[in-house]
Symmetry: D2
Subunit: 396 residues, 4 copies
Amino acid sequence: MVKKGLLERLNAGEVVIGDGGFVFELEKRGYVKAGPWTPEACVEFPEAVKGLHREFLRSGSDVMQTFTFYASDDKLNNRGNQAGVKFTCRQVNDAACRLAREVANEGDALVAGGISQTPTYLSGLGKQKTQAEFKRQVDVFVENKVDFLIAEYYEHIEEMEWAIESLIESGLPVCASMCIGPEGDLHGVSAGECAVRMARAGADVVGVNCHFDPFVSLDAMALMKKALDAAGIKVYLMVQPLGIWTPDAKKQGFIDLPEFPFGLEPRIMTRWDMHRYARQAYDMGIRYIGGCCKIQSYHIRAVAEELQKERGKMPASHDKHDMWGGGLMLHTKPWVRARANREYWENLNPSSGRPYSAALSKPDEWGVTQGHQDLRQHAESTTNDEIKSTTCKYKK
Amino acid sequence: MVKKGLLERLNAGEVVIGDGGFVFELEKRGYVKAGPWTPEACVEFPEAVKGLHREFLRSGSDVMQTFTFYASDDKLNNRGNQAGVKFTCRQVNDAACRLAREVANEGDALVAGGISQTPTYLSGLGKQKTQAEFKRQVDVFVENKVDFLIAEYYEHIEEMEWAIESLIESGLPVCASMCIGPEGDLHGVSAGECAVRMARAGADVVGVNCHFDPFVSLDAMALMKKALDAAGIKVYLMVQPLGIWTPDAKKQGFIDLPEFPFGLEPRIMTRWDMHRYARQAYDMGIRYIGGCCKIQSYHIRAVAEELQKERGKMPASHDKHDMWGGGLMLHTKPWVRARANREYWENLNPSSGRPYSAALSKPDEWGVTQGHQDLRQHAESTTNDEIKSTTCKYKK
Amino acid sequence: MVKKGLLERLNAGEVVIGDGGFVFELEKRGYVKAGPWTPEACVEFPEAVKGLHREFLRSGSDVMQTFTFYASDDKLNNRGNQAGVKFTCRQVNDAACRLAREVANEGDALVAGGISQTPTYLSGLGKQKTQAEFKRQVDVFVENKVDFLIAEYYEHIEEMEWAIESLIESGLPVCASMCIGPEGDLHGVSAGECAVRMARAGADVVGVNCHFDPFVSLDAMALMKKALDAAGIKVYLMVQPLGIWTPDAKKQGFIDLPEFPFGLEPRIMTRWDMHRYARQAYDMGIRYIGGCCKIQSYHIRAVAEELQKERGKMPASHDKHDMWGGGLMLHTKPWVRARANREYWENLNPSSGRPYSAALSKPDEWGVTQGHQDLRQHAESTTNDEIKSTTCKYKK
Amino acid sequence: MVKKGLLERLNAGEVVIGDGGFVFELEKRGYVKAGPWTPEACVEFPEAVKGLHREFLRSGSDVMQTFTFYASDDKLNNRGNQAGVKFTCRQVNDAACRLAREVANEGDALVAGGISQTPTYLSGLGKQKTQAEFKRQVDVFVENKVDFLIAEYYEHIEEMEWAIESLIESGLPVCASMCIGPEGDLHGVSAGECAVRMARAGADVVGVNCHFDPFVSLDAMALMKKALDAAGIKVYLMVQPLGIWTPDAKKQGFIDLPEFPFGLEPRIMTRWDMHRYARQAYDMGIRYIGGCCKIQSYHIRAVAEELQKERGKMPASHDKHDMWGGGLMLHTKPWVRARANREYWENLNPSSGRPYSAALSKPDEWGVTQGHQDLRQHAESTTNDEIKSTTCKYKK
């Protein structure tokens, strides 16, 4: 049986639920290294990658996104990362396509090839070299017959436009989402203008992913929607935010928070936060609703459960989860059974359990971006001296 | 090659690292239902269970504990739980043994059969019936040739003594750990006396697990150690705490906190918290150091990394994790690279990102325990009326 | 010796330091009633009022503002307030002038007559009736030869313009400050436009007071300054904010926070917060720098100490306060003596001591304003039924 | 008309309400210097001191305590304090008696002479020299015919016993309260034993004051009561705690918190906290209920209002304060009027308004006490070198 494609689904008014984050989750599980964050686990630990795909599939994800984040050649070899020495970009991307497809075939999900921003662009090496990086990945995706492409995690609209240009040559539907918030891209282009430019570059679906929490991301989406409406552009909207709270992140998002990446635990969203997110996203007219880093499968399940009526179905893993804490009716302790209701969980403001912690942090705000020498790709490792001299420059 | 047994390792002065929590983690992944928390996933989703075992193995766990929490017949059939209808206690326990053994064989880990407290005891049905529940599980463990047994998660020393009595009949080494904190068991027996009674009942290793955070648990361990010393008893010590902060939990532990079980996210420990825990536990003389609910494999990895020198080895998944954030040297952003050092992470007090939340919660403190009618096991579901009338009794 | 007038001082480039809040401080001391907040204490407890004036004088205040907040006839008789029954508007205002002058004469301070917004305006009774209320107060101020007038605490630019029109007829210098933040007045007029309209109406000094913390108030001042510059208007700037933190207050300010008025204690500013405030205000070019509700005399002293160099003098009460905690050198305990330095206090983020409290609150945001029937002045008391029916309308 | 004495009142079963704190309040008002905290303001600013006495009288205080904290000769001349150079101990104490008496005569209040711990004791100079310091103050109190004496703010039971011995020679009733919490005195004597020893030394009323919040202080009182009961001793109980929250203070109390003394604002209690305190203290059988540092007159008013029925009267300043926020019925804004009820204020957990602050702090815990060289009294100022070398010793 042939599956309906992405645009068929969206044209039919369906909600498409994306998946969640791979790098942070697989880092916790011991299969990805924090720092480079590259996805060679597709080759090294295929069962672990498939296991995570499967969790999302069972939780309601309609899209299996290839685990190809930062899988361009220039990133696999950046700053001492050995991934590119052991495996080629082609190998990693090829394996990722295969794993995503195998799990997608266990259900009704589509496979999307994902392409993210490049060190080449950040190093200021220009359009041609940047697009060459994209092309190597797109070629593998086309060979593997993915269902559509996603250009995601771009901090600069310029690089995003180059990416869209490269991706649409494949003839596949193209989604485009930037890792920006309401303050816009890192060159000062507003969120609204970014949306318009992504659409004009040819993307079928536009939006944001990563870097901000669901509600800050929806604030950015509101600006995008307004600008698209003002420009008279019809395009589908997508949003795939973080699974953590970032009310204090500024323009550069969560990587700028002092807790990134090893102290973010207190910020992790509850499933109830996700219900509110899904409802608000839907009410804004967004029809591609998913997650990015720190979004785990139970977060996606909450999205699917919230939108059950709109989608006309429950996710597979709902068998293991009654709505609004209903499973607690089976708990041994009577006071826990008393929590088996929606009102209880909707009104809970969970305590942090950390009386020596504050509520918010002040981001680093170094403010360096594309073209800055401190961002240049280089194959050899960063030295301690490099770090020391860089820090001094920005020490407040 | 024959593996060294538990007591051989402890006698040789080795540190034995336990594993982490299965029910909460597999709940998030969609394979376990919150409320009953029973482990029929061993039969339903064997690959998912094995996948989690493998994460712990790679992270340094020396023990693969069978996923048999609450796998007694009376619990599989409690309050509308359908697990016992679909699968027998024997089936579940048998599958759990097989999965644990398969993964243990991928490394140097031992298999431990775990037996937890029973609804039969809580319902006040007496020693004979309670021990009959234990026996059905022990039989399966013996048949499957597990390496040792753990009686864990007991709230009452009385039931624990009955359990130890049943377990030592197997001839296997027996560990015994109660889910209590410094305030002692739910019948008012002090933590110190519990330790003495567990040792006198014949346990080879005694301690606490679950219900409290690592540091509250170590407070309880200090009381146990003091009482054992005072009684002149030599016995090994074990601790397997929660992976969340519970400074505000009273006698009944985290199930008494209003956030249990669906709003505990802000309390999740960082890997740096685990370094401190491992060091303090080791310095107290505890040699079986592991985790329970909410302890994920990266938490166990942190324990293994902290105790590298003492153990003379690093865990397998250390390949994906440089010490003290060292992997950040490979990060794209210079200000994140500047965080690649121990001082930074040891001193971070992570913000909650939740300005509308408090630091601490007030537990429910209903205070009902063994023998109380609201705790009785019954096969049929709890009704809404039952919940309503129970709540009214305790409403403040 | 004749004192220099307000405009002489400002024209000479001097910084004029205002005073702090009377109603909240005298409420705590037992002389003012929270709710009506009317200043009949001028007649009832003159020594207490003088005592507070004197504290501000000694702390560096260059202005003794008559304690005539809400001292218009319509407010003294509003909603069951008995103040207007016992004392006339004239009596209260007259006493206030006398007390302010007596203390002003103990130093180099000026006397300013203060006139605030009226229930008459809020009730929608029109310009003529509103200005009649103003006139009765201005007449008393002119008779008492105050040095200048301040129209302060206005939520609507329209009423403020009517007030300025009434006040400039006196021939005295006129200051005008609205109780608004960066979101502008309650009819939706921007902060910038409010500033321009105050200046165009004839005010010599314009700015904001009350309703927001010092830093939110400075954000509003920045918008005012920008708009005035854009309009090419030269006018002096003033700011007299709250002495509490209000990062969470929305358009209606601190009265909208759930803690208003009896639970604001955790928000009270430290003296170190005031140092930062004074410095930032000065650097923005503001030359009339004072405080409003919750600003106590030690807060004003901190302003005067911070601006010592610019003003060429220290306040009298500096005799009892060494800079940056220096007095702690005389403390008995050595670890407290170790805190006698600027770095310590500048870097302190004081804990709340309240682990069951959150960091921020959600304002009520009922959003009713001028013209709404629930705001109408009436002499008789509010009934319980009125409150109940009003609450129902807005219950979320 | 002759007033009833302290013991007559207590014997008659009356509640005696103490006053609040003078040093912190007068420091804020510009009349006392933080660091030495000595009370020469009695001579320098008598009207300010009387004004504060009067606020407490009007708020329901039955006792005007002479403002003689730290008014012994050795303290007036300690570490560079100039108070003792300008004024003798006799002058200060004499003035304090006069001011207290003048205000006491405005109502039904008694005058209590207060004597606190001495640098002489801390310096280890022995019983004779320490009692000589006490005697000089007692003589002045006797000459001035105070109604009774209070030995308060003692960290060591030994010095307290010496004080009681000196005070009972006066023939006046003697109250004795130590500045300790549940952990006992600084030499490791338990709170319970301290109570027994104070009673055995001859005190008519015993308890605690200062250093801890009301609820921690009541915990200490519970230990004292239990020990007194166990010893079969009948004595009246008193409690005069801080007006700030100190859940995180350890043995040495609030001076050990990093916020002491210039960053304690977020910890200030609300009037509603005081209602709970008064009720709990009364229910424990305590009949002398007052306050110490940071307790302002509105806090004492709340105590008097809470105990209205038991006392059969309301305080004078109740005229300016309706119960449970009732005055808000007269507020202009309807949503504030809706807060005019007990349920609202009893359930409010006030937010801190400080998202960058934590809930709790870690005390310094240097742990030096009586006899340690760093605590020795000396007339000359502490030098910067002394501070630096001392700090190094304790730097963690």
